[in-house]
Subunit: 327 residues, 2 copies
């Protein structure tokens, strides 16, 4: 870059930073203050809690933390849509559970097939194809599928305050990672565009892969064998495998995130844990201790003892979802 | 940052870039020209081969590509040193192979125990402890252990031209990753300091981990179960699992890197593959098709057909190792 270009870029960057007030969808409550105060102290050179840029790692759960998860995980809705799309190639599914019930729209029948039945659907929809074929399927689905209740695209059901938070942390030298129980290959095709988080910073549940030659070209085939369930005790494992150092900030919303917050905040030096509490039945959904999706019970109890920030979606957030785009 | 600070930082950055001629340890031969020409075309906005910054992923093998690997992989020397250090706690090793032979310095005896015997040593030296304990052991060893032939620290046996190459690529918007058959936890403690590659950009062979509570604190225990052998067919798997997109440049030196180069260069658009050929017996070691470490045979044949760059250490590099530091 030439000197003038470089100087111009610097000035532009500066103007942009002044223009966009950070965390503008957050009300000026204790939650926002806790975030800003923490970021202030770890980024202040010479301060006791200063953390060098390479160690500023922040990890975010996805379902219920960055985007919604009701009436069920969006990836489950993807699985159901895929089963319906693939049904013409599988006439035998008309007689075989859990496919038969699903194709009739009988969700109680699907549930009745239990864990074993439910696991068959991810297997047939997520494995046996190349990683590139799967990526294309996800990309097509996420661009068009609509949420059954809101009618929005799923990528429009991300939380505006959390988008601002990830951007705010990056502006302060943080590297932001997703650490989700969701499928790693299901998230990667769209997280960069939607959250500004590139594929190499997405950690999720994963299956084994196998290299094969196909018409003289190498392809990676997705196998029906679990590699990692990136949930609960699996989250610190996923963090260590992918990131290799302990985050200093962790954001979650359910008991599936408990161990990630424990692992993060057990490190030495300044640490920050935060739980998003879904308590806004009007603008989103209200659920916690009794919910079958995103159950928040033990982690909510531990938050008090551990000094983690608990965000009330109702009281702490001005907006839930991003403003609708002009057509 | 205040405007003045920002401007000053920009000017300093610029001066530093002008001061340090890139790739100064590379002779002005075809290899250097191929690198510079490729980087030029993928970074030139508007050009047919332009690649946006987030997609500029470059992957480097470690043993034999970024640092030396003779007379055997340095991690094997670490294993031997650990067995010797742990021997006082294991009196039974005096009678048990392969430990007995190793402790007597009888390397032929060690080899005679075969694959099964050889695998026992990594198991006892790499598993059963927490990730943090292992990191400390590696950090202590790498800071003090000396190479049996050169008497140098192992981190002084990195290739100066490759250090310059990784830095040059980063200056051109690339993200540099290690993708090595070596242990991921063995590399991460020092790659940031030595290569400027942070732990989250290190992919390697790995074992399973398990979260346990120890005195009320979560720890990750290294289990004696293989998770991934990041070599040969395993390299594209490791790349997909960790990075989630296909690199555009790949650098290796042996048949263990063949599939990584195939996977990288089979992608669409501009792609670059490079092999480091160890042909300098005087300044380093000369070996290829017949070597028991870093065998380069099939990949050397394929390089011609595929148009990969083959670097001659003897003819292409002015220096091999970094200049000795003033004491």
């Amino acid at each position: 870059m030439k000197t003038t270009t470089l100087l111009l870029a610097s000035v532009l960057m500066l103007l942009r930073a002044i223009a966009a007030e950070p965390l503008s969808s957050w009300k000026d409550t204790a939650s926002k203050k806790a975030i800003v105060s923490f970021v202030g102290k770890v980024t202040k050179e010479g301060a006791a809690d200063f953390v060098p840029v390479p160690e500023r790692i922040a990890v975010f759960d996805n379902d219920g933390t960055l985007w919604a998860e009701q009436p069920m995980y969006f990836q489950a809705l993807f699985v159901f849509d895929r089963v319906k799309a693939l049904a013409p190639e599988h006439p035998e599914w008309k007689e075989k559970e859990p496919f038969a019930s699903l194709l009739k729209g009988d969700m109680k029948g699907v549930e009745a097939t239990g864990q074993k039945g439910l696991m068959e659907m991810p297997a047939v929809t997520h494995t046996g194809m190349s990683t590139e074929e799967f990526t294309k399927t996800v990309t097509d689905w996420i661009a068009t599928a609509k949420h059954p209740k809101t009618g929005k695209l799923y990528t429009e059901m991300v939380y505006q305050p959390m988008l601002e938070l990830t951007a705010y942390l990056r502006e302060n030298g943080f590297k932001t990672f997703i650490v989700s129980g969701g499928g790693i290959e299901f998230m990667r095709p769209w997280t960069e565009k939607v959250y500004g988080i590139p594929p190499e910073q997405v950690v999720g549940s994963s299956g084994k892969l196998k290299l094969e030659m196909k018409e003289g070209k190498p392809v990676l085939i997705k196998l029906p064998e679990i590699d990692l369930i990136d949930d609960k005790e699996g989250k610190p494992v996923g963090i260590q495998q992918h990131i290799g150092r302990r985050p200093i900030m962790a954001f979650g919303n359910s008991d599936g995130d408990l161990q990630m917050l424990q692992w993060t905040t057990a490190g030495s030096g300044a640490r920050f844990g935060l739980l998003v509490h879904h308590d806004d039945a009007e603008r989103e959904w209200a659920y916690d201790r009794e919910s079958h999706v995103g159950k928040l019970d033990k982690a909510l109890d531990e938050a008090k003892a551990a000094g983690w920030t608990v965000v009330s979606m109702k009281s702490d957030w001005k907006e839930i979802f991003p403003p609708a785009k002009a057509e």
